[in-house]
């Protein structure tokens, strides 16, 4: 597996595309700014949302049990899964009971986290992702590069070619309107034929046992209402106490995500319709472990709006796939080490720690601070690459001794003056895509001594 830096290098090799990616996500961020500024109570809403989420995290088992009891009273079957594997087994056993070989799935980052598609495909089940962006990446045997905009790494030419291969659209046609229509026709057929539908969950209300799914396309509803069996998969942190809290979260979610006032459909599922079966799978998969980590507990407040992706100067220029995780971006980089520290040791370093992520977060997660906490944790555990450890130690030694620091500065200036090729070459990462500055004649200290003392 490529590290974040290695994968980013491939992504930025195409400068035009990198610029497009950067500008497009910044445009989404700007729409978020506009939408938030139009609400006078925006900051009060963020505070409220943050407090509700912190309250939930301090009472999680009680709320889960309350939700379970109310959902069961509504006629919904509730399942519990410790980890990804158990989640996949539960979903498969429900499908198997109905003897179906095909299912439609709307967007669920949890099922991506559990690698459900790969598991089911191994069992011979045909999984059809129905969110347009997800269907595109599924055709291409890729994974979503963004949790809200799954195909944001692709251009319309790419989608046109993919649809030409898989849906038989005319070669060279790259009109978004035409391609969306082709997908609508293709997926309607799938919706009308599927007996089992899987959806994610945006919010689950303990007080009522209902859960809310938000989409713009209407794919979750087409799948769920036409199926005989609806399976909703959710992480245990998606619980909220009361129905009235939806007012707070739904006002924040779409505005933070895309700058929309609200998603087209905010669907509230409480009871199965007559003759339908409804299942909810509650998944831990490391969340109880993250809850126990004081510094990282607040990452469980996340409502998956991706505002932190869109604002991040690193994400915008490195693309989602460089994070090699289902949830990329700043929030993904603090969730990932909880799953596997060693495999994700690079991610907390894929940040400038500028703090923009924390500023836009609708539930006020201290994202950039947690990135910095992870860096300390991973370094302490000796998981960082040897070069980074050596470099940090050298820097610490150098910076802790004024005499050494002065001497190193002097040598550095002389080297850059006399042997510029030693720094102006491809071995020096700072030289890539930029000219090295000409070295100053003296250090600030030397200048101060001769001018002010």
């Amino acid at each position: 597996m490529l590290s974040h830096a290695e994968a980013s290098e491939k992504f930025i090799a195409n400068q035009e595309r990198t610029d497009w990616h950067d500008d497009t996500l910044w445009f989404v961020r700007a729409k978020r700014d506009k939408a938030s500024k139009l609400l006078p109570e925006w900051e009060a809403l963020r505070n409220q949302a943050s407090q509700i989420k912190e309250h939930i995290l301090s009472n999680l088992p009680q709320y889960l049990l309350e939700f379970e009891a109310n959902a069961q009273a509504n006629g919904v079957q509730v399942h519990w899964a410790k980890d990804a594997h158990e989640h996949n087994e539960i979903v498969y056993s429900i499908i198997q009971k109905h003897g179906d070989k095909a299912l439609v799935k709307s967007k669920s980052m949890l099922t991506e986290e559990c690698h459900l598609n790969a598991y089911l495909e191994q069992k011979g089940i045909d999984v059809v992702d129905t969110d347009l962006g997800e269907r595109i990446v599924q055709f291409r045997k890729e994974v979503p590069s963004h949790i809200v905009l799954p195909a944001i790494h692709l251009k319309k030419e790419d989608v046109g070619e993919t649809f030409h291969q898989h849906l038989g659209t005319p070669k060279g046609n790259k009109d978004p309107q035409f391609l969306t229509e082709a997908a609508r026709i293709h997926l309607r057929e799938k919706f009308l034929g599927a007996k089992v539908a899987i959806t994610g969950v945006n919010f689950a209300v303990a007080e009522t046992g209902e859960f809310v799914v938000c989409t713009n396309e209407g794919n979750a509803d087409m799948g769920a209402h036409l199926s005989d069996v609806h399976i909703a998969c959710m992480g245990i942190e998606k619980i909220i106490p009361k129905r009235q809290d939806l007012g707070v979260f739904l006002r924040l979610l779409a505005r933070s995500a895309t700058g929309q006032l609200i998603t087209t459909y905010s669907s509230h599922f409480a009871k199965p319709r007559d003759g339908q079966e409804m299942h909810i799978v509650l998944v831990d998969n490391g969340r109880s472990r993250q809850l126990a980590r004081d510094e990282f507990r607040n990452s469980l407040k996340c409502i998956r709006c991706a505002a932190c992706f869109n604002t991040c100067p690193v994400y915008r220029r490195s693309g989602g796939h460089s994070y090699h995780q289902p949830v990329a971006g700043p929030i993904g980089s603090i969730l990932a080490p909880n799953f596997d520290k060693k495999a994700n040791v690079d991610l907390p370093f894929a940040s400038t720690l500028c703090g923009s992520c924390s500023n836009v977060c609708p539930v006020k997660i201290n994202i950039h601070e947690q990135l910095w906490f992870w860096r300390q944790d991973l370094m302490k555990e000796g998981l960082a690459p040897a070069g980074k450890v050596f470099g940090m130690k050298l820097m610490a030694w150098l910076m802790s001794s004024p005499a050494v620091f002065r001497m190193a500065g002097g040598i550095g200036r002389k080297v850059m003056n006399w042997f510029p090729f030693l720094v102006n070459n491809g071995m020096n990462p700072w030289y890539k895509q930029r000219e090295m500055p000409s070295p100053p004649k003296q250090s600030f200290q030397e200048w101060y001594k001769s001018n002010r003392s």
């Binding site: 006078p40 319309k156 006032l261 009871k271």
Partner: protein, 183 residues
Amino acid sequence: MSSREEIIKALQEVKVPAKAYPGAFTAQVIGDDILADFLHAMVVVSTTVIQVKEAADAAPALDKHFPNMQRVRLNPLADGLSLADIDVLEIDGDFGVAENGAIWLDDSTLPHRVAPFICQHLVIYLSQKNLLPTLQEAYIRLGDKQTGFGVFLSGPSKTADIEQSLVIGAHGARSLVVVLTEC
């Protein structure tokens, strides 16, 4: 021990400092003209509004808007699947939200849950008296109403998954017309 017990036990073992529930949130009314805010939101979500005194007055405008198309009033007896072939489906909305153009529909007005999604074009009748300023008031209005399924619907279905180009008409209705009645 079942997974359920294991998860609950693991969560109970974590000592998280107690944080109180902050209580209900009171929204600040954005503008004092709810109707104007709602009409503005309708423009933002690409929805056509027909303002009439009574529901029946909308017929000529709807005829003009949907020329030569079959319009069907949602009928509890109709088969949900056959709705896929309907050009234009007409239903009643419960109440609307001025800040975002969302209209509440639930099992009490929808004999078939799939109806507002599967039809090609959707018409919702809504009384101007049933407009609320923000989602917060909407949930107060909803209270503890028990409903098997309910949806806040705001505009026609859409996607921007191909290069961020907005396309109206993804999987759900291709267009939405709201008939706003005075009574």
